[in-house]
């Protein structure tokens, strides 16, 4: 069957023959490999996308379920050609190492700042608790978003 939806602002469609995840379709069919596949069970956040305004794991969305929906991936999070403020802040703070978790953090943080432009450190941590990073120990990630929130640690 053909599934049609809005992807990063553009009408898109794909053919779904089997029950596969949105993540697989994004990566393999729609040439958007920015969302990463690391656990396939919603336990790492590397495939975070915005589905109809809600932050979800693309690995746990059945692809056919996006029919008529609106999806934003890491590739569509920034204004074209520029960087989203969460990307700028992560880059400056040294919040990127191997980078495999980074797209997920970008999308989850963009969602957080959309809802709450000045989150506290506690709010930052709770909002990002579904995103695993194996490299940084999270220190630089927290500092990046504290700065963005204007709540730099003294």
């Amino acid at each position: 069957m053909i599934v049609s939806f809005r992807l990063n602002g553009a009408e898109t469609s794909f053919r779904a023959n089997h029950p596969v995840s949105l993540l697989d379709v994004l990566r393999d069919e729609l040439a958007l490999p920015g969302s990463k596949s690391a656990c396939e069970q919603g336990e790492c956040g590397s495939c975070s996308v915005i589905l109809d305004g809600e932050l979800v794991c693309a690995c746990l969305v059945m692809a056919v379920d996006v029919e008529g929906s609106d999806v934003t991936t890491v590739e569509g999070i920034a204004p074209s050609g520029g960087l989203h403020p969460v990307q700028e802040s992560l880059n400056r703070a040294g919040g990127v190492q191997c980078g495999f978790c980074t797209p997920g953090f970008v999308v989850a943080a963009a969602d957080l700042f959309e809802r709450n432009p000045r989150p506290s450190t506690a709010e930052i941590k709770e909002a990002l608790a579904g995103n695993i990073c194996r490299c940084t120990g999270y220190g630089a990630i927290v500092r990046a978003f504290e700065r963005l929130a204007g709540r730099e640690a003294p």
Binding site: M1, A16, N17, H18, P19, V20, S21, E40, Q41, G42, E43, G45, S48, L51, E54, L55, V56, C57, C59, L60, V61, M62, V64, D65, E67, G68, A108, E126, A127, A129, G130, N131
Partner: protein, 268 residues
Amino acid sequence: MDVAYPTDVAEAVAALADGMTPLGGGTDLMVEVNFGHSRPEQVVALRRLTELSEWEGNRIGAAVTWRRIERDGPTALAQAARTVGSPQIRNAGTIGGNVGTASPAGDGLPFLAAVDARIELTSPEGTRVVPWNEFFTGVKQTSRRGDELIAAILLPEELPERHEFGKIGVRNAMVIATVCCVVTRGSDGTTTVGLGSVAPTPMRARRAEEMISAEVDPSDSALDEFARLVSSEVTPITDHRSTEAYRRHAAGVLARRLLERTIRRGVA
């Protein structure tokens, strides 16, 4: 593959009757799909069926997400909601899914047990309401028939005055419960204890409830006895997540703390 996008419950139920697989938030089903354990070629997509996400009073639509419950739910259920998976999971996962999957570790289930919730099931033959303890029949086993849709969770008209939730896991967030528990306490001292991850299904610690319900102002030794009874009533297993002995011990400690919280908050 074949997908139904029903616009009302009747259509959804008709599709289920045709043997299609219900797809809610997808947070359990898709793990099975991704791991090759399940390959549902016929699916009923329920996410945008607004009728299923209606929440009126004590009737919580099955498709209400944990995110919404975290925000709007009664105290202990909201506390439980905050521990369900990650923010991403809570945005997608639903209370109906938690009930339907019937994992022994389902975070929402001890509350349902503690307040004697009922499950509303709809099929072409009509609607039936099943008490929680008749609904959960074993590890990931329920009395739902394949043609039945979980339509709603029915809480009692009035909830006990105080209720508190607690969940033990090795990690501070995003973790499967080693033990989880809800204690409710009414103004007359009536106490219930719902527990998860300590038996094949969510359970109640009835003897502990009976003993402590009779104590208007429980002494330390009464609280000790309560914890001891909870520990003796659970039937946990040893697996890769924990041991029987720890779960037994921790169930008592946690239930006692939650009880003390209900009493303390009752006073305050």
